[in-house]
Symmetry: D3
Subunit: 164 residues, 6 copies
Amino acid sequence: MSEFTHFNDQGRAKMVDITNKQESNRSATAHSSITVNESIYKGITSNQMKKGDVLAVAQVAGIMAAKQTSTMIPMCHPIPISGVDIQFDWKQIKENYQLLISVTAKTKGSTGVEMEALSAASVCALTVYDMCKALDKGMVIGQTYLTHKSGGKTGDYSRDEPVE
Amino acid sequence: MSEFTHFNDQGRAKMVDITNKQESNRSATAHSSITVNESIYKGITSNQMKKGDVLAVAQVAGIMAAKQTSTMIPMCHPIPISGVDIQFDWKQIKENYQLLISVTAKTKGSTGVEMEALSAASVCALTVYDMCKALDKGMVIGQTYLTHKSGGKTGDYSRDEPVE
Amino acid sequence: MSEFTHFNDQGRAKMVDITNKQESNRSATAHSSITVNESIYKGITSNQMKKGDVLAVAQVAGIMAAKQTSTMIPMCHPIPISGVDIQFDWKQIKENYQLLISVTAKTKGSTGVEMEALSAASVCALTVYDMCKALDKGMVIGQTYLTHKSGGKTGDYSRDEPVE
Amino acid sequence: MSEFTHFNDQGRAKMVDITNKQESNRSATAHSSITVNESIYKGITSNQMKKGDVLAVAQVAGIMAAKQTSTMIPMCHPIPISGVDIQFDWKQIKENYQLLISVTAKTKGSTGVEMEALSAASVCALTVYDMCKALDKGMVIGQTYLTHKSGGKTGDYSRDEPVE
Amino acid sequence: MSEFTHFNDQGRAKMVDITNKQESNRSATAHSSITVNESIYKGITSNQMKKGDVLAVAQVAGIMAAKQTSTMIPMCHPIPISGVDIQFDWKQIKENYQLLISVTAKTKGSTGVEMEALSAASVCALTVYDMCKALDKGMVIGQTYLTHKSGGKTGDYSRDEPVE
Amino acid sequence: MSEFTHFNDQGRAKMVDITNKQESNRSATAHSSITVNESIYKGITSNQMKKGDVLAVAQVAGIMAAKQTSTMIPMCHPIPISGVDIQFDWKQIKENYQLLISVTAKTKGSTGVEMEALSAASVCALTVYDMCKALDKGMVIGQTYLTHKSGGKTGDYSRDEPVE
């Protein structure tokens, strides 16, 4: 079994050496969500509430966060992000509405782009919370996880069992 | 009902004016979590795995993220954070282990410190993911939400119903 | 006549001491613009081009830049920005179209908020350039200047003569 | 005609995918300016005012801004800047003086370096404003535009008509 | 004896709570240095080497670092820096030359400004190293320490014994 | 003799052009230290003081600083850091204790990684100061210098004479 890769021989964290890893095209897709009440849902999606703007701000925040990932996550390597795309969908859950957030990040680099996709998805959800919290502080950011990655030595990964 | 507070009269986002809000002591507590398999759990907690270091890195990341919240979240006001404390607990869920993350952030400022607590909790969980992802990419970051806030004009908030 | 205020007694730049200046409510409004061709104008404003999104991104960029001003401008003091609002207007100039950008920034601080308004206006214009440059690299960012400030010891300022 | 390249199929902004673009040597030169009164001009240029220091600070600010461009401009890709050079010239306009700012930025990357040159030029001008605003808040930052670019698939660009 | 103040009751680091500390005027002065060979000394100080520019860049770097201290130092509180001044002196040591760096930082805040002064002094020295390292990689950054602080509950501090 | 490489033909600083330098594997090791009294030494190292945590925070700070070097040091090129490792040792000096800090940084880039190693070492020492300053403000950060570099056109460097 592989070992923890962020520790040096003093047992302390280090940024692992990837100097000799090959550059390759890599992609990762992460999922997050935020559940809001009907009033917020209507505010975000109706024409009267200037449709799209909460999501537009959240999306910009997510893309900028992807670029800041190695600044935010201590042992994360800086990689040259070559693309970020964020998709939104809505799903009704009883009387509430869940905004589904899917972020795909790409790089041509020596290490994977999973953290960039996950960070962007999280910041996207946090931004929706920020922009709607005057209406309801009870919004819940849903489970956040990797759904797919490709490229790199460890090969492809796809979550095959649903997250409960 | 209160309205969306981040839109200007052109229907676009703005940073709302808090110039005339009073400074007061404010506090917010947010919850997040990450579920890991037994092998990662043992690695993080056993003496052989240099107990506490993954959590130590995650905690530093969370505290630094609290200070970067207004840089990350577009419409968030910069506030002078006066304290951040992060607590960890473990909970076994069948064969897996859930790291419970609780972040309390404080400020003496003109607006609330909810986003700082939530951002710190999210970045804390993301950092654990980053440090353990060589072992398992299937870890899931759990629901992230506000559990308590105090101070400010809108008064105190405590989540009274559990999040399912 | 007042002297240059950013030099120390060795003739080098310093960040001037404002420790004993009183906090007061301050506001500043800055103007910038960018001139684009008809095709870009239509792209930005027509329904088919998803009206508002270029401007939405530009606006988020401007607001975030206001918060980063003291990081960007070396001798600029960090101040607690309490509000930022960005307004857009269009003006036809012969066959081209000029996007007028007006940014108002506010603070309750010990020094003025002019640089924040000017920086936000500049970054707003730069972002429009970035998002449209695939269509035309010849866009010109127009003159950028302060139109109004209030608050602080030096009192109010309004540009009374038009900028040619 | 080429289309807007920053929108995804939901009509929202994304960071376009450049994973498969070739790296090449690229260069871009941008122009900005700031017009100041005679007193400020003399202050900046005379020996008594420690010649060069306002410009030295502005230049450092411009170079640092070039490196921060992808942090400032939301859809801008991070690229490895390989060189930045800033040149200053003075031009008398009636009783005022115009500081001409020319920034050349270089990269060996997968996308152009125009935004880096433009951002550096803007921040350079903003910094001069900041350092002289105690003397006159009426300074005007002049038109800012690309004068030349080379490298990349779209080839070379040179502005051939003067900007009025 | 006072205890370590950055640990929570789980024995992990936290950002200590200063919500109830009074704001007061505070000042701190830190010292650093860098020893260079005669060739570099002459390059920095002679007219032919464009006197002052290495120091001008170092000084801007130091001032900007003071403003980034709470971003760099994990448990450091963000404070509103109200002034930074950096002084340089030269001292000959046998065949070498030592650049003495003295940084005074000020704030009107709830906690001290020592870290800002120390960080600025360090970054100042690092910048001189960076700008001269093509000539000699053997330069040594000297001891870095606090020489004075005033303000705050713990009162004034002055180093009374020389650092060997 | 080589000349100062950060000046343009106007005698002002620039970021030197490395567009045509070859990428190669590079490594640099820097040394710093901080001298603390026995009480702080015992606090950091004893089991009762949660051994390792001050060092864990310092180490995270150092690694994050390595990634921020080109943001901190004005003329420093952004390079893709591929690994950072920080080692600590203790040395008793009469009644005091010196924490020896050794940082090795690696890159596969077009310019050296010396500044990253030096910056990380400095920030590491500054962080220890920050976390212990409640006990003693008289701690002294020791000499900071390059001990080794490899890779690049200028070849290897090793400090062969001890720093006094």
